[in-house]
């Protein structure tokens, strides 16, 4: 297997992009990554997208996007793993470069979510759950994570305020990210008094509906130095695991077993432990998700995730900064794009290009991207050379 480097990244401002179509958002972002890498062609591309069929009625997406990218009849594939589609695109691109099948591969993610109304978006996102045995009974994604939250509160004494602190921290970070959808701060009181969506989760516990894309260029490590003068970021760990997509099928409702397994694989491949990681981007689709994920990845003990944000452990300047980009919470969550945007943030940080939210001396970063209520997870570890 060849070593693989990330030599280009691209992301534009996320939000409610009424004036842009899915293809516009994608092409704009992909060109940023291509220009950042300084390459004049790509050999192959992957695009992560959860459900362009339900959001904009468009399937056969990869060919359409490759066409509009204008780089010729390259092989292009769309990959889907619900909200982990972007992370899956990164893994597939990694495998294609590592195997020697292609040299320069574009990995990207995109979702255009605001062309439908709120209840249609809720339905579309809900298809990541078991349609016959969860969706049929009226559960929603906020509802699934709310059930995880209540179980976590019951088992470990995690409090409503502790969850609010996750949103406060990630918005504080997001306020430093000009590309974030909601680059402003929120207060604990603000979170606790926001509209209830699915008890005990309120609207400010939830990541938003977002239009956006993210892209990165991968190539063999030994070729990277001949292409770019920028710091070379190597992909040193890749982990990927699945779990039951129905929450009720899991032994312990508070454990994200796929995240734990993907994390173990990535740590083993990279030869790292949680103590070696300088910054982490995790899938905080809901505040409780960040709490469960940092437990599953071994940054805190099981059941102790609740205090991490409040104590400052996971804040910028803390021992293990989590979601310095603002996370899904403040940066936005165009579902298929999220996993690639995490890689974009890690590369920015490892290059030392993250401005006011720079984690000083960052050498090793970890990205965790999760589908559904935890039914799939991708973990990538990146290191600057």
């Amino acid at each position: 297997m060849r070593d693989v480097a990330v030599i280009g990244i691209g992301m534009t401002k996320w939000g409610e992009l009424w004036d842009k179509a899915l293809r516009d958002i994608f092409v704009e972002t992909a060109l940023l990554a291509i220009d950042d890498a300084g390459v004049d062609h790509i050999d192959s591309m992957y695009v992560g997208c959860m459900t362009s069929g339900l959001f904009v009625g468009q399937e056969h997406l990869a060919s359409q996007l490759a066409d509009y990218l204008g780089l010729g009849p390259i092989p292009a594939a769309r990959v889907e793993s619900a909200c982990a589609s972007g992370g899956l695109a990164v893994k597939q691109g990694f495998l294609e470069v590592a195997s020697g099948f292609s040299d320069i591969v574009l990995v990207s993610g995109v979702e255009k979510m605001t062309d439908v109304g709120g209840d249609q978006a809720t339905y579309a996102l809900g298809t990541a759950a078991d349609q016959e045995y969860e969706g049929y009974h009226g559960i929603t994604f906020p509802g699934l994570y709310a059930m995880i939250a209540r179980a976590h509160m019951h088992a470990y004494g995690t409090t409503r305020e502790q969850m609010a602190h996750v949103a406060v921290k990630n918005h504080r970070h997001g306020a430093l990210n000009p590309l974030a959808q909601y680059p402003f701060e929120v207060t604990v009181e603000g979170v606790l008094n926001s509209t209830m969506v699915a008890d005990p989760l309120r609207i400010l516990d939830c990541s938003p509906i977002t239009d956006g894309a993210a892209a990165a260029i991968l190539c063999p490590l030994n070729m990277a130095k001949t292409i770019t003068d920028k710091p070379i970021v190597k992909v040193t760990g890749v982990g990927h695991a699945t779990d039951t997509i129905a929450l009720h099928g899991r032994e312990d409702l508070t454990v994200l077993a796929a995240t734990a397994k993907a994390g173990e694989e990535a740590y083993a491949m990279a030869g790292k432990t949680p103590e070696d990681i300088d910054l982490v981007e995790v899938h905080d689709c809901f505040t409780i998700a960040e709490i469960c994920v940092i437990e599953a990845l071994g940054f805190v003990e099981k059941g102790k995730g609740g205090t991490a944000a409040e104590s400052g452990l996971t804040a910028l300047g803390g021992n293990i900064p989590v979601n310095v980009s603002g996370g899904l919470k403040a940066k936005g969550h165009p579902v298929g794009a999220t996993g690639v945007a995490q890689i974009v943030e890690i590369v920015k940080q490892l290059r030392g290009d993250a401005d006011k939210r720079q984690v000083e001396g960052a050498r090793v970063g970890l990205a965790q991207n999760m589908g559904g209520s935890g039914g799939s997870t991708l973990v990538h570890i990146l290191e600057v050379q």
Partner: protein, 129 residues
């Protein structure tokens, strides 16, 4: 989207709680499967126990399209006495007083109404004992 064929083929589970029990290791699956995690492929059809315990729950206030008129409503995960867990609505209860660990009983109820014709779809819901 619920269509006639899709609705019809789930009837044994939704109306009668039919599950598959592995004849080798005894693990029960709902819905039934064709292969067990123990590797065996022989199952007998069993009916689930219709009493159990509430493991977690939420109150859905922002509902998907077909449930908008029902909100707010309670959805929970109930562990039946034979160990199988269901995601199900919890009804005939005061959501403020529900607690994890509370005893539940499965009942046959209307779940949702589909399409312009308003086709009624049935299945299981739980009520506090």
């Amino acid at each position: 989207m619920v269509t006639p064929a899709r609705y019809w083929r789930e009837i044994p589970q939704r109306y009668r709680l039919e599950a598959g029990k592995c004849t080798t290791c005894g693990k029960t699956y709902f819905p039934p499967r064709v292969v067990c995690t123990c590797g065996a492929r022989e199952f007998e059809t069993v009916r689930l126990n219709d009493e159990g315990t509430l493991r977690t729950f939420t109150v859905i206030r922002v509902a998907p399209s077909q449930f908008v008129d029902e909100a707010p409503y309670v959805v929970g995960i109930v562990e039946l006495n034979d160990g199988v867990r269901l995601t199900t609505q919890v009804v005939d209860c005061n959501a403020e007083q529900l607690q994890i660990g509370q005893k539940m009983k499965v009942e046959f109820r209307r779940i949702q109404t589909v399409g312009e014709a308003g086709i009624l779809c049935y299945g299981y819901k739980c009520v506090p004992v």
